[in-house]
Symmetry: C2
Subunit: 247 residues, 2 copies
C-alpha cells in the first residue's frame, strides 16, 4: 500500500543510471566492452536500489528475476536451515555481483543483507541474457564472473576443510586487504563491516575463537585491532601463518 511519500521515494529510487560513465566500469560487468556497445549496456541497468544497513536485498525463497551490481556499500550473503544453523557464504563489496545463486532454480537460495547503507544496480537477468547474445565480450565476461565465483567458493571450501582457526582468519584478512586495495583503498588499514559472529560464521568458527585469534595476532605484532578498525602491521607474517604446514 504505497503512500504518496512512498511513491515519491520509489520514483526517486528509480534513477536512470549509466554504466557508460560509472566509475566502477573497471570492476563491474562492462569490463572490456567497446564504447559503442556501452550505450546498449546503459539500457540494461533499469534502476538502482538503495538499502539501509540491515535491509535485505533479497531473501531465500523469493523469486529470482534480477542480479545486482553493488555500486556502493557492503553486503553479506547467508543460508539458513530449519534447525537454526546458518552459514555466511560470502561478503560482497563495491563492483561485485549478487544474486547468481538464483539463476539455477528461479528462486533465491540465500539471503543478501546490507552491512552498511548501500546502493545496487538492478540488472534484469533476461535482459542480461539478451544483451550477452549480442555482445560477445559481455557474454564472455559474465561467464568469467560466474566461474570466478565458483573458484572463490572452492577457496572457501579449502579454508573450511583444511585450515585451523588462525590460518582461516589470516586468509580472510589478506583477502579483504587485497580487495580493498583493488578498489583504491588502503590495503593495510580498514574497517570491518561485520561482527565477530559474522566472521565466525563465514570461517566456520565461534565468535570467541575469532576474538582470541585477533588478540593473538595483536600480541604477535601482526595487527593493530581497535574494535572493527584493523591495521595490518606485518602482511608477510600473516601470509606465512596462512600457508604454514600443520605442526
Amino acid at each position: 500500500m504505497p503512500t504518496s511519500a512512498a511513491t515519491a521515494r520509489l520514483a526517486f529510487e528509480v534513477v536512470k543510471t549509466a554504466c557508460s560513465n560509472c566509475n566502477l566500469r573497471e570492476l563491474c560487468l562492462p569490463i572490456g566492452i567497446e564504447p559503442e556497445d556501452l550505450k546498449k549496456l546503459d539500457e540494461l541497468v533499469s534502476t538502482r536500489r538503495r538499502l539501509k544497513r540491515g535491509d535485505h536485498l533479497y531473501r531465500a525463497g523469493q523469486g529470482f528475476a534480477s542480479i545486482y551490481a553493488i555500486r556502493s556499500g557492503f553486503f553479506k550473503t547467508d543460508v539458513l536451515i530449519e534447525d537454526g544453523r546458518d552459514q555466511v557464504t560470502g561478503f560482497q563489496m563495491t563492483g561485485e555481483l549478487l544474486g547468481l545463486d538464483g539463476i539455477s532454480s528461479e528462486v533465491h537460495t540465500c539471503n543478501a543483507i546490507a552491512l552498511e547503507d548501500s546502493e545496487v544496480c538492478v540488472i534484469p537477468f533476461l535482459h542480461l541474457e539478451g544483451l550477452s547474445r549480442q555482445i560477445h565480450t559481455l557474454q564472455h565476461h559474465f561467464h568469467k564472473v560466474m566461474s570466478r565465483e565458483i573458484v572463490r567458493d572452492h577457496g572457501v571450501m579449502m579454508l573450511l576443510g583444511t585450515m585451523r582457526a588462525e590460518e582461516r582468519l589470516a586468509a580472510f584478512l589478506l583477502n579483504l586487504s587485497q580487495r580493498f586495495k583493488a578498489r583504491g583503498y588502503s590495503p593495510a588499514e580498514f574497517n570491518l563491516r561485520m561482527s565477530r559472529d559474522e566472521i565466525g560464521s563465514y570461517l566456520g568458527l565461534k565468535l570467541e575463537t575469532v576474538s582470541r585469534a585477533f588478540s593473538r595476532f595483536q600480541e604477535d605484532g601482526l595487527l593493530a585491532v581497535h574494535q572493527r578498525k584493523i591495521r595490518i602491521l606485518n602482511t608477510d607474517g600473516l601470509r606465512k601463518l596462512m600457508t604454514h604446514q600443520r605442526s
Copy 2:
C-alpha cells in the same frame, strides 16, 4: 610423439558423437532444446575422451579451452596448495559438467581425476559460447548449470562450516543416493568410487573419523557397509541425523 598404435588409438577416441541421440540428454546440456536445434548441438561436441581409473582429465595450471560432460564414469576434483594440503571440492558423475572453474582465468584451478574408467564429451568453450548466442534455451540452461554449481558449493560450505562429523557423512550419503536415483540406479544400494581418505578430504574430516562414522551408522542400523559397498537401511534416520540440532 604418437606411434602408429597411439595414432590409431587417438583416431579411435575422436569418435563422432551425437547429443541428439545420447541417452543422457535429460541430464546434460541438451535439456529442453528443440529438435531442430539439437542438430546444431551435435557439432558442439567434437570429440570424446576415454580415461582410465586414476587418469587426470586436466590439472591445475593447465590452459583452459573446453569443458567436459561426463558420458560415463566417475570423477573427483581437488585443489592442492604448496604446503601439501589438499581438498576434494567435488565428486562428479554421469551427465555432470567438469571444467567450469577454468573459465574465469583461462587456466584450470583444480585437478579432475577419474575414479573409474570413464568417458567424457569434450566441449570447446568458445563453440559453446557461440552456440548459446544462437540458442536461447542452451544459453539459459548453461547459466543454470553454472548457478547450480554455485548453490552446491554453498551447501558444502554449510556442511563444512556448521555440521559435525556424522551429520556430514549422512548428508554426503543422502546426496549420493539421490544422484544415483536420478540416474535410474538404486538409491539404497551403491558402490562408493572413492576411498575413505577422499571422502574425508571432501567432508573436512580425517579418514579415521569417516571410518568410525560408518561403523557407528552400521551399529545403529542405518547402513550396511561392506568395504565400499553401501546399503542404506534407514533413509529417514539418516535424514533426521543430518538435520538434528546440535545438542
